[in-house]
Amino acid sequence: MKIIAVTACPVGMAHTYMAAAALKKAAGKLGVEIKVETQGSMGIGDRITEAEIAAADLFINAADVALIEGERFEGLPTYETSGSKVIRKAEKILKEAIDELNE
């Protein structure tokens, strides 16, 4: 299972990075591979590559503002959530996203 995700928030200095850290931590616990791109006040961090998009099984959109270059992820199975949800319960969200994909 290869997951890619993007986090972003209104100010771009706190939730973007917290949500990214929460997703990585939860993915580690669940034993799934994840790459998280942060779209925040430091610009795009850990940009997801075309190869990673091509190999991805699932895209988690945890951006609370419009995605930058969101067209990159068009056509991928997508799970929509929010930064604050991810920060509060990343593990539950990851499980839900994976379950939804497998349905």
Binding site: C9, P10, V11, G12, M13, A14, H15, T16, Y17, M18, A21, A22, K25, G40, S41, M42, D64, S82, S84, I87, R88
Partner: protein, 152 residues
């Protein structure tokens, strides 16, 4: 970038006397203003409350992280407040600790922004939150914060 350029014993108050969200925001903004970190206290308070109105920064673990990246901030700063009395932050669970983050709108240096992001991310660590909730004095808490920052 050293954390102690952003966060000092002057920007911490472990005995907040107020229990309403806007009063807590104002009291922490006052700490930052008195320490020469803001050019407009009222302006910054408005910015922070505006951000809260988009989506509450209550994390659901007894901590809220109000923040602003605006022209009313002179240098990257962090204020920490704590209250033994629950602070009703939103319609969700009340909070006891408030970590307020302030960054100038013009801030381009990633070292400052990285440090701010790091501080926010530390709130995902249970033992760090435990220290925030329980350590008795500001010096002990500063030590804990430095230790956790260095460990990231």
């Amino acid at each position: 970038m050293q954390i102690n350029q952003m966060l000092t014993t002057k920007t911490m108050n472990l005995n907040l006397a107020c229990h309403r969200r806007d009063e807590v925001i104002a009291q922490l903004a006052q700490c930052l203003y008195a320490d020469g970190r803001l050019n407009s206290m009222d302006g910054f308070i408005d910015d922070v409350i505006q951000r809260e109105s988009v989506d509450s920064t209550n994390m659901g673990i007894g901590v809220a992280i109000p923040h602003g990246k605006t022209d009313h901030v002179l240098r990257p700063s962090i204020a920490i407040g704590r209250s033994a009395h629950p602070i009703q932050w939103d319609e969700d669970e009340p909070v006891h600790v408030v970590m307020m983050l302030a960054v100038p709108e013009s801030e381009k240096g990633t070292t400052h922004l990285q440090m701010i992001a790091k501080m926010a991310t530390l709130l995902l660590e249970e033992d760090f939150v435990h220290d925030l909730m329980t350590l008795e004095d500001v010096d002990q808490l500063l030590q804990s914060i430095k230790r956790h920052i260095d460990a990231v």
